[in-house]
Amino acid sequence: MTIIPHGENGQPLEPTPRLRPTLFDGTNLWLFDSMEEYDAWYKEHFPQETDNQVSE
């Protein structure tokens, strides 16, 4: 992740690249390098989500 400039309400000051997730941690606004990096971070921090449902 890379720190990018943000406004007082956590909003990016410049448009972020298309489909590149961001994370505001209360101090810095981070731009994920890729969806793969975001997916890995998300699975670690949102562990309660279920996997895709499968039919039996």
Binding site: G10, F24, T27
Partner: protein, 214 residues
Amino acid sequence: MNIQPIKISSKVINSNQFIHAPNQFIQDMGPLAFEGQFDLTEYLRQFIQQYLEETNLSSQNILNSSHSVITGTVFETITMSTLIPGGTFEQGDVIKALWRCTKSNINGTTSIRLSVNSTNSLVGTTTLSNITLIPATDIFIQQERILFIRNATTDTQTISNASSVSSDILTTSSGASGAAIDWSTNKYVILSIQLGSALDFVATQFLQLTVSKP
């Protein structure tokens, strides 16, 4: 003379995309192949006419699905916003705003506000909805508001912004509310979040605006 008009392949392309992501717009059109001579002026005229026909649809989608996570603060924070170029929304339009968030950790409640502003900030916003005190244990949050533009500069109607219902498709004793928003100039539609606990994470998956025109 052999004029090959461009066929815009997808009706999803809209003026917002054209204005704010012209490079992507051109990429989406694909390679242009010409045979023989062609009249550039006529070609551009056809292109513009076709573009206007394709974009003058009864329904358009404006979607921000960039993913945005907020944590570490209990101050209201902008999670997602979309620039609406002046003149995009007009009298008689119906706009459905739909958004989805997911939450991790259950330490505090969540408040979500949909607002409109001339700048991408929370100073001086007009609040369209303010859904407060979503229970801490609610970790899937999907909400919507339907706006009706009675007047493009003075009256955008929805359910009262004090209502905390997730959807305004309902019958209720709450009255309708009119917001004085001038859509003839550039506006940001802003989704902002206020966490009850800085230890929680709220991820916004998307903010979608569907515009239906008369």
